[in-house]
Symmetry: C4
Subunit: 209 residues, 4 copies
């Protein structure tokens, strides 16, 4: 079956998820005449929104480039993609927890929020690794499959590297929340680097017309 509708459907879910994240910006309770202070006190929502917007945005870019190499889909890939989208939509929830916990400045709650964020991110990266493994054994679904080995060699372990960063983040959060938060940020930055590596690899091998 052709890949087009799978891509369009996935793009739709990404676009909706990105835009839904903004719904976390709710009017604060405020004393009339002091709206400004109440809004500025909501900076953790903005921070969490930015973190998740660019995380989901990077995931979209990655998904976009990765599936551009695929020409056909089958039911296994359909299911795998659905599970991946499920895990990605979940990120909405830890994002809310994070903005709430940081706003309330309670250390235990912040730790829990970061832990759940890292957990979801870890599952997402793990599923990307499953996707890489699946495509490696179903090279017939890909465009230019003769170049697959060469293309795949350099980037095959990127999802595992990502998983590793989030595992370290999960441990780090329990000892020091700031270190843990930075590790999560590092994980997201690494995702972005992995996207750039994938993107350049595709251009180098002219995998897409």
């Amino acid at each position: 079956m052709k890949i087009d509708r799978l891509q369009a459907f996935s793009d739709g879910v990404f676009a909706i998820l990105l835009t839904l994240l903004v719904l976390d910006f709710k009017l604060p309770n405020y004393k009339i005449g002091h709206l400004g202070q109440a809004v500025i006190a909501q900076w953790p929502i903005l921070a969490a929104y930015m973190l998740s917007f660019f995380y989901v945005g990077t995931l979209w870019l990655f998904h976009h480039d990765y599936f551009a190499k695929i020409k056909r889909t089958n039911w296994q890939l359909n299911i795998l993609n659905l599970i991946l989208l499920f895990a990605i939509t979940l990120i909405n929830y830890p994002t809310s927890l994070l903005s709430e916990a940081v706003a309330q400045r309670n250390l235990a709650d912040i730790r829990f929020a970061f832990t759940s964020y890292a957990l979801v991110a870890l599952v997402i990266s793990g599923l990307f690794w499953v996707l890489y493994r699946f495509m490696a054994v179903h090279q017939d679904l890909m465009i230019h499959q003769e170049q697959h080995e060469q293309f795949y060699r350099a980037i095959r372990n990127d999802p595992l590297r990502s998983v590793l960063i989030y595992v370290i983040a999960l441990v780090g959060i329990q000892f020091n929340v700031v270190v843990g938060a930075l590790l999560i940020l590092l994980g997201n930055v690494f995702h972005f680097i992995a996207y750039l590596r994938l993107s350049r690899n595709i251009e180098k091998h002219h995998l897409i017309e």
Copy 2:
């Protein structure tokens, strides 16, 4: 009229519905410093979310494959598809009822929530059966209509089988909620099997290029 925009529109509704389901994850009321416990107590929301995400996901896959066999649409099919999408978006509501009722652990409410879930699922399966019947008498709308009989023979009663499971589930729920819940799950799993049967049938008959 060409089928493309009908497919794109339906895909859009499915993508939005799937992503909206995540909005049921609202921040719990919690004692500051005990966010973790409050979130963990929300497991029924996660369970209901997973149930409905994969149910709607399977419905999308099914809809996707089924409409891939269709080359043209007319106003009757447009209306039928609209009614089908209406019934599918309704699933959002019993999903909320289910997560609320399970969280409150009241048997009568859980029974009611499962009953309404099974009812909506039954209507959806019933409408798929109407769609099957409609396409059987409008074979001129299909791709490769000469293969239609052969293709259709094996799977024509799948929606009715689905309806039957949900009827049994509806009865079962009134006597034993756990049995009823398992029957609903079975109905969803059967949906998935019906999708696999459809998908393999399409590949076998090379109905799609």
Copy 3:
């Protein structure tokens, strides 16, 4: 400029609006153990949801078929379409008012809710009339423009007929809410008939390949 992205964008707005309507189904306040009664008391939400789902659905079908006759767009048509989409998204609000007012059973409020519903519907039909007039003087944007007059003759006043029904409904609501409600329903049914007339006209004239 090509019409494709305008169509896709409009389809997106319709798909999202249709699916957002379901968000009005919120969990009722209920006494634990009596969820069923509380849900059943929410029937006005279901009724309002059905009314608006099929109204917006019909508007989509209509928009879909109408724009299928158009091959190019320009900035005036872009703006006109944007204003039309604006009016259509507004329907979300009277839908909420309606379900609330009917649930509270207050006659003055029900009258106000139906009035605002009819008002929005009237504006939508009025804008369709503007669209018809606009296309009549920009026939160069259409497919098969040589058949335009012939095609257009029978259906050119359908939007005005629609406006008339909603004007009568607006007056009727002030005297008798039930009559007014039936007139709104009649307006929506007429929309549907207008869609069928458009759809058959297109098939008759083979305006679309």
Copy 4:
């Protein structure tokens, strides 16, 4: 990489954002039997909704026409587009602040709401300027790049003009809210004029088939 999916994804975000704006229309708290007055008192929500709907609508039209001149994308343009979409989705929040502050009629809050609105609009216009600069140095990504200079000369500074209007608005708001509000409106109208200039330029140069 081809531009199609980037366009479709961006269109999706615009369509969702436009439609989500309507969710700010929540049922007012009202005395039963006085729904009408409560709804009419919500006019600031309608005003803010109209302002933002047509602002985002114009941004979409602009984005639509601008990207129709581009034939390929690369990772830098992907990122730039993502940042632009981020800034545009943010507009949802000042829209809520605005309707709330105007409804409460507190001058300090209204000033703050307009300030945040102008700030987001300023960032959006600034990002369009970055996009213009980026495309000027990556003309190989464009269709008909030989006409680029000629096409670009007249409109290259439109985003900067927009930024200037919003800077003046930001200053104006601090002295006189009404003047500031009119300047924001002027900024949005100028956006629309810039869109018309772009649109006519494209038609004049036949940049799109």
